[in-house]
């Protein structure tokens, strides 16, 4: 017979440990946490946003990006007491910068089908719109990969806005 009991005990210990950390984490606001501390840095600091021209969501022709998404980002930044530092460029350049950690957020009328998932975490969709071929598309944004607190904060903000609009 195999030495099951020993394995089982150690696994049980691991489960208890996991449950313990889980419970402890419930009470603190930093769960899930960012491995690289993006949200902590942004809060009361600088939110580095990449924007690619994609009217009507992002109009990057002026001195500062305008449109529905820059407005949404400004509101989120205000909530976080953050000042925004804009970078206007193409999607590839922006996603590469996001992956390198030079940006905290990328907007540009991105949709659920956005293929750059190896370079950034794609948020849950915050709105629906009509796509180029007349079909309905789901609008998303991109944050640094695995910065789950940032991702969670932004998605929670989307939900909060949706609830306010519904009211």
């Amino acid at each position: 017979m195999r030495a099951m009991p020993a394995t089982r005990r150690s696994v049980l210990a691991a489960v208890l440990a996991a449950a313990g950390t889980g419970l402890a984490a419930c009470t603190s606001s930093g769960y899930p946490a960012d491995p690289d501390g993006t949200l902590d840095r942004v809060t009361g600091g600088v939110l580095r946003v990449g924007a690619s021209h994609h009217p009507p969501y992002v109009d990057a022709t002026g001195p500062e990006p305008r449109g529905s998404e820059p407005d949404l980002v400004r509101a989120f930044a205000a909530e976080r007491n953050a000042t925004i530092e804009w970078t206007v460029s193409g999607e590839e350049a922006l996603m590469t910068a996001l992956k390198k950690g030079d940006l905290d957020l990328v907007v540009g009328g991105l949709t659920k089908e956005f293929p750059w998932t190896s370079h950034g975490s794609i948020t849950r969709d915050y709105a629906e719109a009509e796509g180029p071929d007349g079909e309905s598309v789901k609008l998303v944004m991109a944050v640094p990969l695995g910065e789950n607190q940032m991702l969670t904060a932004l998605e929670a903000y989307f939900d909060q806005r949706a609830a306010e609009e519904a009211r």
Partner: protein
């Protein structure tokens, strides 16, 4: 010989090939069948649940692929059992017991692939410093981190395989069914992966991007080793190695017991057996060297044959071969020999 009379009961009767099963053993067979159907049910439910909560999580996707792989051993068991029940025919004179060996090989490959995929995937994740993203979902107006949901689903998926695997181990020994034994290992792999995912996702929540991969490597290595062990067992058994206990750790004690029965015959001077595991049942070739001047009659041979097969239901296909000298491979067939060492 009662087996001739039961040959008319059809291929799915209470037997393995030509071996009629006692009601107790048949009950174990039915129990094992029920367990395997239950396993299939549990896995299918898990597959559907995980597919729903999976999202874009690579960790969950890996767990999901493993669930798909763990469908293979129960299916292999059910098919092998069906085939093993078929009576021997002129074209398949040994019966179809080897289906167990084939099923074992299939299950062992599934287990090994699961271990290799898990370890390979996780090492790749660590090397490329992949930071797994886990977002939120909207639960009736509340924004809930998806990690909680993943951990809950994984926690639900742990007890099933844990209990099933434990039960299968016992039945596998009673039935001498290695497919069932490998499937118990697969169940162990399943629940350990579940625990690893819980630990991994909890770690990701703490900001440890490497936690999921590290936990997966930890259990992946143990799954790989189990897979390798089963693979080796399956192949050597198919290649007619000496019958061994279900865990493959030592020669099967029935070999020694069968030889003792032969030695106990007054007309036998030396005896040694070549016993191979056909799957559930054994094929015994008992070589006997008669005493000087003893008559080797048909009656004596039949008597010995029946005495041996009366030892255990697994010994039905027994051949008694009178020889002048024991073949070299079974020459250890005297008391205290190498072959019997370690058996009980």
């Amino acid at each position: 010989m009662t087996r001739r009379d039961t040959r008319e009961t059809g291929p799915s009767g209470r037997r393995f090939g030509a071996t009629e099963l006692s009601p107790e053993i048949e009950r174990v067979v039915q129990q094992a069948k029920r367990l395997e159907w239950a396993t299939l049910g549990v896995i299918v439910v898990t597959i559907v649940l995980v597919a729903i909560v999976m999202g874009s999580s690579q960790a969950m996707r890996a767990a999901w692929i493993e669930d798909l792989l763990s469908l293979i051993p129960p299916i292999a068991f059910l098919v092998a059992l069906r085939v093993a029940r078929m009576a021997p025919t002129r074209a398949r004179p040994y019966g179809s017991h080897r289906s167990v060996g084939v099923g074992h090989l299939v299950a062992a490959v599934a287990l090994s692939v699961m271990g290799v995929v898990l370890v390979g995937d996780s090492i790749l994740g660590l090397v490329t410093a992949e930071h797994p993203p886990i977002g939120t979902f909207d639960l009736f107006g509340h924004t809930v981190w998806q990690g909680w949901f993943m951990m809950a689903v994984m926690a639900l998926s742990v007890p099933g395989p844990m209990i099933l695997g434990h039960k299968k181990l016992k039945l596998a020994e009673q039935l001498h069914d290695r497919v069932l034994y490998a499937d118990a290992d697969m169940n162990k792999a399943d629940w350990q992966t579940g625990v690893a995912t819980i630990v991994g996702v909890a770690g990701i929540g703490l900001g440890w991007w490497w936690a999921d991969s590290a936990a997966a490597i930890f259990v992946g290595v143990s799954i790989m080793l189990d897979g390798w062990k089963n693979l080796k067992e399956a192949v050597t058994n198919l290649a007619d190695r000496r019958a061994a206990t279900i865990d493959g750790a030592r020669p099967h004690p029935l070999i020694d017991r069968a030889e003792r029965v032969a030695w106990a015959e007054p007309w036998v001077r030396h005896a040694g057996a070549r016993v191979r595991d056909e799957g559930h049942v054994f094929h015994v070739e008992m070589f006997v060297v008669p005493q000087q001047g003893a008559d080797v009659t048909v009656g004596r041979c039949v008597g010995l044959r029946e005495a041996i097969s009366a030892l255990d239901w697994k010994l039905e296909d027994v051949v008694v071969v009178p020889v002048a000298e024991l073949p070299e491979e079974v020459r250890g067939g005297t008391r205290g020999d190498e072959q019997s060492k370690g058996s009980e």
